[in-house]
Symmetry: C2
Subunit: 188 residues, 2 copies
DNA sequence: TTTATGGTGTGATTCAAATCACATTACGAA
DNA sequence: TTCGTAATGTGATTTGAATCACACCATAAA
């Protein structure tokens, strides 16, 4: 839980009492490679804060193709946010790619924390702000970039993920076929 | 300004004193068709809340093609959020497509309001939450949808915009060529 | 060690959508 | 009204990336 405190205090300082209170809303969970934290159709009970490991958030389209909406690693938050916030069944899967652990937070917990502590509402707002900007950036790349540019942007932004996850998953994240991606990275 | 109050009170009730305070951070601005609220390279001074009219937020790629990141109409917020939040020069343009008016809010104002009033921090968090989910949804469509599906999703989500903005702009929003879109809507 | 399974490169072929090139229509300004 | 400009439809052609099909190489399990 010390990691949680550090994570929050990057945004806002906390007193010991505050943190003690906050803590009670988080449950720790060990996860192993290939384990699913969420299945399509499930109720989306939690949002996850990654303490360790790598994960993918993805869905399967009607042709059976897998598309990755988000990767997550240490200190990233993840879930099927549409399902989580709207209390609808998941359209997505969350799967572990590398053994690790996560903290689980319910929507109730999130809202309660935000209501109880202005600081926490601030924390979540800042996180969302950053997330929003990142998504808008991603849309930009999807709209105008050819596979080459997409790959370069990704490499620049997440050189670490490039090492940690197989290329075929990166392809599924970039919206490019495995083969095309393979030919690209060669030409670089 | 009454519209602003209603807009905020859809999320959280306000006392008169609170609203009086809030109000001081917003400046109203009339805008005419073809007028730019933001140019690429500008400092991104404001975020805008649309009171009336339609607007597009777009950028121009290195081949000179225009890509629309966001449309906005009544009660939507818009700006180049990356530039706004990171205090970097704009990568985007904001242009008016239909006469109207907007409220302008500086980043300072936004942060001040959030710090002063827990309610306002809440308001912004809720807005960001919805925006985040919408962007994630858009990414989903961009990743898996063919032009047909993209168009259908858009029609379902924004039938009003379909009437209000020219097709070629919708094409630029969907990441599809004008011609392809034209052939599609015919086949429907 | 062998065997299987998943990741990856690379050629050949196909195909969907972009591009190019017009014609047509709608609309606002002079 | 007439002119000019923007929006739109539609054919012909090109092209970039997907798909198909395979070989090769890891790593992990038997």
């Amino acid at each position: 839980m010390e990691k949680l405190r550090q994570h929050i205090e990057q945004i806002t300082p906390l007193t010991d009492e505050e943190f003690t209170h906050i803590q009670t809303f988080f449950a720790i969970k060990r996860v192993r490679k290939n384990q699913f934290l969420l299945h399509e159709g499930d109720e989306v009970k939690h949002e996850f804060l990654v303490l360790q490991g790598v994960y993918k958030v993805f869905y399967v389209d009607n042709e059976g193709k897998e598309h990755i909406v988000q990767f997550a690693q240490e200190n990233w938050w993840m879930t099927d946010y549409s399902g989580y916030f709207k209390k609808k069944p998941a359209n997505m899967f969350v799967e572990c790619l590398e053994d690790g652990e996560v903290l689980c937070l319910t929507l109730y917990g999130r809202e309660k924390l935000s209501a109880d502590l202005h600081k926490m509402e601030h924390f979540f707002r800042v996180k969302l702000t950053n997330g929003y900007v990142a998504l808008q950036e991603r849309i930009r790349i999807l709209l105008s970039g050819n596979p080459q540019q997409r790959y370069e942007e990704f490499s620049k932004l997440h050189p670490d993920l490039l090492q940690r996850v197989p290329k075929k998953l990166i392809a599924a994240f970039l919206g490019v076929s495995r083969e095309t991606l393979s030919r690209l990275s060669g030409s670089k």
